[in-house]
Amino acid sequence: MRVVTNDGTFCGYGKGEDGQLMAMTDEEYHSACPGMTSAATKGIWSSPKSSPYPAPKGLVVLYQIGRGPFCPSVSPFPLKLETFLRFNKIPYMNIHSSRFSKKGKTPWIEYNGQAIADSQFCIDFLSRELGIDMNSHLTPVDKSISRAFQKMSEENTYWSMCYEMFAVPDKTRIAEVMPQYKGFKLWAFTTVFSRVIKKELYYQGIGRHSDEEIWTIGRADLQAISTFLGDKKFFMGDRPSQIDCAMFGMLAQVLWHMPRTRHEKFTHDRLQNIDGYCERMKELCWPDWDKLCLKHPSYQDDNYKTYHTE
């Protein structure tokens, strides 16, 4: 199928009758995939109408909720998964939509007819299918430390970040990281999402604590991450490993999508090694970073664009 921006500029390939990748005209594309639109800027309000997506064999189709204003995603998990795909140069295509997996989660992937949900299960699945091991150079103890830090960041730090962004009275931060929502859509999203997050925070446990207690937890996690990272180039040493995808996904949100929060201020003021680390990951895996940030002048819609297919 064909990837087009809103002005019809060609930027991708489709599958022909013989299964080979080929370019299509706009008419061919709209005939083959009616209802498909450039959805990267529309975020969760858009949804492809055809399902499942007819991808060529060997191409990962990555479903995520759309690009962010200052970072390619507003959520750590799509950024983690897409960083993994990029680091390992796995051919993939983005579909930005509100289409969730069967588990009701996003991001998720389709690969050779199989649908896999949950960013970590996606990484584990692709690692097995494609014979990839980003942790091959790590000792068993290193791998265990990686697992511990990844789970701390995804199951503890993450919730303190959700609280700071969505459960505090100041809702202006949400407007800053969701520029595509205005007026009623913004109000609806802010109201509904805040209620959902508060409920999840309460069930998870952290939501039962006071504002100061939740920040104490988040701050201690960020300090631990920074202390362990130290002056290393990547989280476990000189070579990147799988945890760098997860850690970068999480820390990128702190640096770029948590404006005027305690997390952002503490990290900028006291944890400078995190700034340097994220810049290194950005250079390594995201040379086209600016083109994938909604607020950057060079932003380009990459919905249905394929990567690493040459």
């Binding site: 588990k103 009701g104 989660k105 949900a117 949950d118 299960f121 068993p140 103890v141 791998k143 265990s144 430390i145 697992r147 511990a148 830090f149 789970k151 701390m152 199951e155 503890n156 409920k199 999840e200 069930y203 998870q204 446990g205 039962r208 604590h209 207690e213 201690a220 996690d221 300090q223 631990a224 991450i225 202390t227 362990f228 130290g230």
Partner: protein, 245 residues
């Protein structure tokens, strides 16, 4: 001589084969014993203001949440069970503790209330089947919101095994997480592992902690012998007797 603070630890009662059915009560009470802090227990159903167990009253002040209790005691009694750790080790300790309490813990909860242990809860802990059903539904709903409840049973077991393998791998043949001297995280991790080791009979979780990762079994015994010499007085032996402590 300064007077000892009056510390009362509120918890839900003794467990069938371990001092509590909740890992956080085992954690907090183990910490009190590691730090040699005198305390008394109050077993009952009175929850903390945050709606959870355990909690404590320190000289009349209520403190909820096991970790906040520990932080409060550290600050007010000048305790630091991590004094022998360097900053990197303290960071690693925190990571392992959080993995155990915020990830592995939910596997424990799902196994206990939804998948594996419901029959044991009824037969041994003597909980009514209706209560187990109601709590199981709540747990499913809570864990769905959290995310982990959306996975299938096999996927959840995989998450559990990966976490336990990580703890086992890091522990290796050391006495405690960071060598010969235990630290604060040992109390937390022992709390979680005590449930798999003693309160999940016949389950995959018990098999992993007792057989597959044999060093975790030895670690649990070591923590038990070091800080719970009165273990037998702190359990009900499957409801056959009343715990005396």
């Amino acid at each position: 001589m300064s007077s000892q603070p009056k510390i009362v630890l509120y918890q839900i009662g003794r467990g069938p084969q371990a001092p509590s059915l909740t890992p956080f009560a085992v954690k907090l009470e183990t910490f009190l014993r590691m730090a040699r802090i005198p305390y008394t227990n109050q077993h009952g159903r009175k929850r903390s203001p945050k709606g959870k167990f355990p909690w404590m009253i320190y000289n009349g002040k209520i403190i909820s949440d096991s970790q906040f209790c520990i932080d409060f005691l550290n600050q007010n009694l000048n305790i630091d069970l991590n004094s022998h750790l360097n900053p990197e080790q303290r960071a690693i300790a925190r990571a392992f503790q959080k993995m155990a309490e915020e990830n592995l813990y939910w596997c424990l909860v799902l196994c206990r209330w939804v998948y594996d242990n419901k029959d044991w809860l009824h037969r041994v802990v003597c909980l009514p089947k209706l209560l187990i059903w109601v709590v199981g539904r709540n747990v499913k709903s809570q864990t769905n919101g959290h995310g982990i409840g959306r996975h299938g049973y096999e996927e959840m077991l995989q998450i559990m095994e990966t976490d336990l393998r990580a703890i086992s791998s890091y522990l290796g043949d050391k006495q405690f997480l960071f060598g010969d001297k235990p630290c604060e995280a040992d109390a937390a991790i022992f709390g979680q592992l005590s449930q798999f080791r003693w309160h999940m009979p016949g389950t995959k979780g018990e098999q992993l902690v007792s057989e597959t990762f044999a060093n975790l079994r030895a670690y649990c015994e070591r923590m038990k012998n070091a800080f719970w010499p009165d273990w037998e007085e702190c359990i009900t032996d499957n409801g056959k007797r009343k715990a005396t402590k």
